[in-house]
């Protein structure tokens, strides 16, 4: 009889035991049932009241069955299409996708290396470079431009992302009205077909509550508008340990999870079955500098733990990686981004954002993004494990070559070298003379070179003139 092949173990990691998961769940439930969330919007208060929540002035407490109802109606998997309408990100067990982050204040100028305020063109450059990078699967704006009217910032960001990439978009908005306009722009990408967009969304709405336990009015308005259109949503609070949340990670997570569920409940009250990506952002506020860290091991831990919680709730998960607290793309940036990318992938977090952030999320860097692309590639190879079969055990090859000096000449090497090894694109493995001859370039030099190469050579598949005209028309009309 033909024997079964040996299965391949793909290394993966859990952070929490089943017992810990349940204990954190109970704590989150206690926060929702007993402490409640302050909701700063009348319409939402009424909706919570009608649903059976306990409303004391502006504080909403959720009985367990309301949370369970929301969990029952939310889909267990979320699929995001790309802008061509091809279903491409399957946010479900075991799958991990990396993408950029939202609104930074500054950017490192790719030409001058100077740290300066973000302008609208930068959003386009990040979208374009992301589109070119094989390991970047979705985009966010990566900056808050100062050269457009401030009330239209998020609309301009969205337009830039549409014009320069075909990747799925995770977008931010200011409130209800601009969310509606962004929806119109997204529909324009599908030739105005809103039904197609509802069924195959290429966008996900990033909405945040304010820790501790405050549901601000603009966030409510965003959810009311987004859920109406079935826009997938994530609702991660910045439940950062030691500032908006307790200094201890378990409590910070429990609170962040409770906050996240208030968003889920409201979304499901507006529209049952609207897609939701679960999980708070639980980093730490450094108790020496008050900076919220984007390179700390704590966030790497909590996002893995949030992924474990997501499995328990049967919801796709939100996470972060590939960013740094360093002010430049340097050794620190390399250390911190590698750590978080490796952790996010090992834990199989689904939607991993903030790739390309430096300076604790205040500045974005194209070099950092390109470096992270390489790190993701390396981690991907690692997580794929070691295939064990007749070909890879290569017993016949060993037998054949045992009396010679090297395996290099053997056909088995020729046939397998491309898949058996990982080849870096930007990490340098040349011998010293070759490296010197190439200009003695450091990793930083190579990153800058690569960024500028992509910016001048890469062209994303363009949108039709009709789509572009419609987008500009919506932008020009304003709010």
């Amino acid at each position: 009889m033909l024997q079964f092949p040996v299965g391949t173990l793909r290394p993966s990691m859990r952070i929490l035991s089943d017992e810990q998961v349940v204990a954190i769940h109970r704590a989150a439930m206690e926060i929702m049932n007993s402490y409640g969330m302050q909701v700063q919007d009348e319409e939402a208060l009424q909706m919570f009241r009608d649903a059976g929540a306990i409303v004391e002035k502006d504080r909403v407490k959720l009985p367990e069955y309301i949370v369970q109802d929301a969990l029952n109606s939310a889909p267990t998997r979320v699929v995001l299409s790309n802008q061509k309408g091809e279903r491409s990100l399957f946010l479900e067990e075991g799958k991990t996708y990396f993408g950029t982050g939202s609104d930074t204040i500054y950017i490192i100028d790719p030409e001058t290396g100077e740290r300066r305020r973000v302008v609208v063109k930068d959003i386009g450059n990040f979208a374009k470079v992301s589109d070119a990078l094989p390991n970047i699967s979705f985009i966010m704006s990566m900056g808050n431009p100062i050269d457009v009217p401030s009330e239209l910032v998020y609309m301009y960001e969205f337009a830039q992302m549409v014009k320069n990439s075909n990747l799925p978009i995770v977008f931010c908005s200011d409130s209800g009205p601009d969310t509606e306009k962004i929806w119109e722009m997204a529909a324009a990408v599908y030739g105005g077909d809103e039904q197609k967009l509802e069924q195959n969304p290429f966008l996900l709405h990033y909405v945040e509550p304010v820790s501790p336990l405050k549901f601000n009015r603009t966030s409510v308005q965003k959810i009311l508008t987004g859920a109406k259109h079935n826009i997938p949503m994530s609702f991660p609070s910045g439940a950062n340990a030691g500032s908006g949340a307790p200094i201890t990670l378990a409590g910070a997570m429990a609170m962040g999870i409770a906050e996240s569920f208030f968003g889920l409940v409201l979304q499901q009250l507006v529209r049952k079955g609207a897609p939701f990506v679960f999980g708070p952002n639980v980093s730490v506020m450094d108790q020496r500098t008050t900076v919220v860290s984007y390179g700390c091991p704590e966030w790497a831990l909590t996002q893995g733990a949030v992924t474990d919680m997501g499995r328990f709730y049967n919801l796709p998960t939100w996470a972060y990686a590939g960013s740094t607290d360093s002010k430049r793309v340097d050794a620190q940036a390399g250390i911190e981004s590698t750590f978080s990318v490796f952790a996010a992938m090992a834990c199989r977090s689904n939607l991993v954002h903030d790739v390309g952030y430096i300076e604790y999320g205040t500045t974005s860097s194209l070099e950092q993004l390109v470096m992270a692309n390489e790190i993701i590639d390396m981690a991907r190879f690692f997580m794929n494990g070691i295939e064990v079969n007749d070909n890879t055990l290569a017993l016949d090859v060993i037998n054949r070559v045992k009396d010679q000096s090297t395996f290099l000449m053997d056909d088995h090497t020729l046939e397998n070298f491309k898949t058996a090894q990982w080849y870096p694109k930007l990490l340098d493995r040349q011998n010293y003379p070759a490296w010197e001859k190439g200009g003695s370039l450091t990793m930083e030099d190579r990153l800058t070179k690569e960024v500028n190469k992509i910016l001048s050579n890469y062209q994303p598949e363009p949108k039709s003139n009709d789509v572009l005209a419609k987008i500009d028309q919506i932008l020009d009309a304003g709010l």
Partner: protein, 213 residues
């Protein structure tokens, strides 16, 4: 004699917040002068804490605990102090976040640090219109108006607050200092704010230097 004040000083540095009240009572009972407790005990201690923070010996929670300890002591000696001696020593600050911005962690930190440094602080909380800032500043005769914003979308309210201050003819009298993630020195200069601080410690230093100048 001097030892009791030294003890109070050290208790603030070591944030013995549960024991400080008793020690201050003891000092007052033994005839120690309230102003000397304030200057040589409390404020001197907070200067030491500030220095230790700068060198990385002291972390923020410890500094805040020292500030809390200092405040307990201050409440004890207040009745004995000449009226307004606290305010005249350091200054009166009104602080809050701008309209439509409810992110207040940074603002709260600055307020606590200022109290710890001996300022009279009026924290008017979140979501403040320019009128709110100004009416409170008038009411308490503030020299400093601290305005905080976390979002680029709410940041323009800072400019409006400065403009409103000008309209009221108070711009020369009240120093505006701004802070928050999207705010920079350049932005402060653009809108005519007198100061910008990147964190709570710098905010205290900046306000001290604004009042000294």
């Amino acid at each position: 004699m001097a030892d009791l004040i030294k003890e109070i000083h050290d208790m603030v540095v070591e944030y013995k917040k549960d024991a400080i009240a008793e020690k201050v009572d003891q000092a007052l009972n033994e005839g120690k002068d309230a102003e000397s407790i304030l200057n040589n005990g409390l404020i001197a201690a907070m200067d030491v804490v500030g220095e230790k923070y700068s060198t990385g010996e002291v972390f923020i929670p410890e500094m805040l605990a020292s500030a809390k300890t200092m405040k307990i002591a201050l409440e004890k000696i207040k009745p004995q102090l000449q009226k307004d001696v606290v305010a005249s020593n350091k200054g009166v600050v009104v602080i809050g976040t701008v309209k439509d911005d409810i992110h207040d962690i940074g603002k709260n930190l600055v307020a606590m640090m200022l109290e710890g440094a001996g300022f009279e602080v009026h924290d008017i909380g979140i979501d403040n219109s320019p009128e709110n800032f100004i009416s409170k500043a008038k009411e308490v005769n503030a020299q400093i108006l601290g305005i905080s914003a976390l979002l680029t979308t709410t940041m323009p309210m800072m400019k409006e607050t400065v403009e409103a201050l000008k309209d009221e003819g108070l711009y020369e009298k009240i120093h505006v200092i701004v802070g928050g993630a999207p705010v920079s020195q350049q932005y402060a200069d653009e809108i005519g704010a007198r100061g910008y601080a990147a964190d709570a410690v710098v905010a205290v230093e900046k306000i001290k230097s604004l009042l000294d100048s």
